[in-house]
């Protein structure tokens, strides 16, 4: 996978305060900033066992090399948060500023063994607040048109479908 044509954006991301929350079943879940040096191996592990049938538009990459290249690229270009249960990374959300730096593009994956516990929604609501604080104008994301479950969740957070012709482009404005 070639991740060229991204200029190096050294965006100054504000701090993210870690949050310990209970999932829907009362289990502790820590949501915190992703730290590349420390977390890289753990994140690779999550993606290595990620269910292929849940991949979306080429992500996560299938091979270990592809995963490494992707998350190394993300660490350089964006900001990530992770959900941790018993010291294991089970959810990952990343934002990367768009070319004009005004918006961020969002991608989220929750490991199949930890879905339907509200972890994804927790990550989403925390990052929306974070993006507002960071001063971004809005959040863009794209998913597959057939992924109605994800689209439903994004809509709950206020995302609107903006380009239904292609894949499903969605947008959440953060400013009036």
């Amino acid at each position: 996978m070639v991740l060229v044509e991204r200029r190096e954006v050294s965006y100054n991301f504000p701090d993210f305060e870690p949050v310990t929350a209970k999932d829907k079943f009362g289990n502790d879940c820590l949501i915190r900033k992703y730290e590349h040096r420390k977390d890289r191996e753990k994140l690779i592990e999550m993606y290595l066992s990620f269910d292929h049938s849940q991949r979306c538009l080429g992500l996560p990459p299938v091979s270990k090399e592809g995963i490494e290249r992707w998350i190394d690229y993300l660490a350089k270009s964006g900001f990530g948060i992770v959900a941790e249960v018993d010291d294991r990374i089970v959810g990952h959300l990343v934002i990367v500023p768009t070319e004009d730096g005004k918006n961020v593009d969002l991608t989220i994956f929750v490991h199949q063994d930890f879905q339907n516990k509200g972890i994804g929604q927790l990550l989403m609501s925390l990052i929306i607040d974070y993006c507002k604080r960071a001063g971004f104008e809005g959040i863009t994301l794209v998913t597959e048109r057939t992924n109605s479950r994800a689209i439903h969740v994004y809509k709950k957070f206020g995302f609107k479908i903006v380009a239904p012709y292609y894949e499903c482009d969605m947008y959440l404005p953060l400013k009036e």
Partner: protein
């Protein structure tokens, strides 16, 4: 004969599309038709029209600089983009269509785009896809 160049959005890819189109026009000694398709009516915002015009103007300027004959057309005819581009290509008896395919979002998701697919599948002319 003419080459139809379908432009969707200013990006590094559209720069590559344009670069290829300019070279190809010189090589074949053919005219370029830059097109950008919008649906119109309630499906199209005023800003999209402005963006579209800017995009075409950007392409036009470079063609001018290179001394290549061209026309630019902002298509707002109540048509979906693929159908619009294909119909336009037939109307001007195009010899080929140049489009951009395979975008990558900032977080890495890969898009092929149904418009590109539809043009490739349904156009009567050869379609060159620029990655």
């Amino acid at each position: 004969m003419a080459i139809v160049v379908a432009l969707d959005k200013k990006s590094l890819r559209s720069e590559r599309v344009l670069e290829f189109a300019l070279k190809e026009a010189k090589l074949r000694n053919e005219k370029l038709f830059f097109v950008h398709s919008l649906f119109g009516k309630e499906k199209t915002k005023a800003e999209e029209v402005i963006e579209g015009e800017k995009l075409l103007e950007w392409a036009a300027e470079q063609a001018k600089r290179e001394g290549i004959e061209f026309e630019k057309h902002l298509l707002i005819r109540g048509k979906e983009p693929a159908e619009d581009v294909i119909e336009f290509a037939n109307d001007v008896a195009a010899s080929m269509i140049i489009i951009g395919v395979r975008k990558r979002r900032p977080t890495g998701k890969v898009l092929f785009g149904s418009v590109a697919q539809e043009i490739i599948l349904n156009a009567a002319q050869p379609v060159v896809c620029i990655k």
